[in-house]
Amino acid sequence: MKLSCSILPTMLIAAALSACHKDKAAGEAPAAAAASHVQGTPHTDEVLNAWRSAGLAPEGFGAEQPAPYSAAYCEHGKVHGVDTLVCEYASDDALARGTQQVKDEWVRTDAHTGVIMHAKRTTMVTVDRERREPSGKTISQMAKVFGKL
């Protein structure tokens, strides 16, 4: 009986930990899903490859987790020094919401130049906060390529 009394709390703690772990795993499940590409819209790697083919040089792109701006999957990096985020959205509603969130952030922050455009449910967001490229030639080229996707 003593044994059972000493085991019981241990079991309870183990059960609690297990439950906690399950909860955490359940919480991570959406994040894991968000980190996967969305079908039916250009994938981020397609966008980056298209830019590379056009002579642009995407640098340091990696997945953003969790994906910002209501997106399902995003990759962030730079193109010729311009801050760039490419995102895939699971639905048109999420796309509209995400677009608005990006624009709202431009209002909150002092972005010298900002562009958001989409091809199907994939967005390209470029922000030049540091006036690296006032002429916008890189962004213009990126937009031209992206618009053809």
């Binding site: 909150r108 922050t109 972005a111 130049t113 900002g114 562009v115 006036r131 006032p134 002429s135 916008g136």
Partner: protein, 328 residues
């Protein structure tokens, strides 16, 4: 008391933070000049985008629901992209596609744009420039007093304008032909003798055509002015002051193949037709010599209808920085 003080301090901090947290966001739907105080030059982004600055000179833009489209000549702003030469006013198909309603360029004389006219548009390539030879709807005339101010915006800016041979101007062109145009006052592109200024003819609805051979080093060798007048205005007082006599005595005009003796045709509004209608008579340029207004600009003012019906809001006002790249 201490709590009240802390609360007040917090409130002040919140107000300051919320005031500074909202950056200026201005949306552009075309390429455009960058204001000098933001570095100058030209922004080549031709998709909708935002900046934290507004247009340096609103007279060079069309604004629709907070979106700006640059309707001017990009040449004076270090623009190094493709350029196409136009002469006189014309529709702007690209702006129309952006805004969903027609928009017009009111720049007088030769000028550049970054776009080529679409094949279906009624432009004629002649003398190295595109000339609009189609009809204008009433909106073009209604908006002219408001948007022709773009010529004032360009007048003090020195830059090399395109060279256009106006001797081969299309017959269907409806507008003014002169040696003037954007930036002409600076003398960067147009030298030689000062351009004549045409005083309006008799106070009636009519079209005037004047021809002035001679030209200058810009390659603009002819002046033919086709000015449409819709209503009688106070410019009648400028008529019959004897100025036109000098024009009629000018033998060069008579020798020109398109010259016809001037005749007055009062009556309902007529559309321009070269070689028809009363002639314009030149007056001394000095009569209009005041800062920022040269012959071309005066031609606009003096020939623009005085009462053309409603416009779409107040005329754009020049910004402090509207001569942004002037001294670049």
């Amino acid at each position: 008391m201490r709590r009240l003080s802390a609360l007040a301090t917090g409130l002040v901090v919140w107000v300051v933070l919320s005031a500074t947290a909202h950056a200026k966001v201005v949306e552009y739907v075309s390429q455009h000049p960058v204001p000098h105080k933001f570095g100058g030059g030209f922004c080549y982004i031709d998709v909708p985008h935002v900046h934290n600055y507004g247009p340096a000179d609103p007279r060079m833009y069309r604004e629709n629901t907070g979106q700006y489209y640059f309707v001017g000549d990009p040449a004076p702003f270090d623009y190094d992209g493709p350029r196409y030469t136009y002469y006189g006013g014309h529709p702007i198909p690209e702006a129309e596609s952006r805004f969903g309603h027609p928009a017009y360029c009111y720049i007088q004389g030769p000028h550049y744009h970054w776009y080529q006219p679409p094949p279906q548009a009624q432009f004629q390539l002649s003398g190295g420039a595109y000339w609009y030879v189609g009809n204008y709807p009433p909106a073009y005339y209604d908006e002219r007093p408001r948007y022709a101010t773009i010529n004032e915006a360009y007048a003090p800016i020195p830059y090399a304008r395109p060279v256009v041979d106006v001797r081969v101007a299309p017959v269907g062109f409806r507008g003014e032909i002169s040696v003037g145009g954007p930036g002409w006052r600076a003398g960067a592109a147009v030298g030689g003798p000062p351009a004549p200024v045409y005083a309006p003819p008799s106070p009636a609805v009519q079209i005037g055509v004047g021809i002035n051979l001679g030209g200058g080093p810009s390659g603009v060798v002819e002046r033919r002015e086709i000015i449409e007048r819709r209503e009688i205005d106070d410019e009648r007082h400028h008529h019959d002051h004897g100025r036109h006599e000098g024009w009629r005595d000018e033998p060069r005009f008579r020798e020109h193949p398109r010259y016809e003796p001037p005749r007055h045709e009062p009556g309902p509004m007529q559309f321009a037709h070269p070689g028809r209608g009363p002639a314009r008579e030149p007056v001394a340029p000095s009569q209009f010599a005041h800062p920022g207004h040269g012959p071309v600009q005066d031609a606009i003012h003096r020939t623009a209808p005085q009462n053309q019906g409603p416009t779409r809001g107040p005329a754009p006002q020049g910004h402090d920085d509207h001569h942004q790249n002037r001294h670049r």
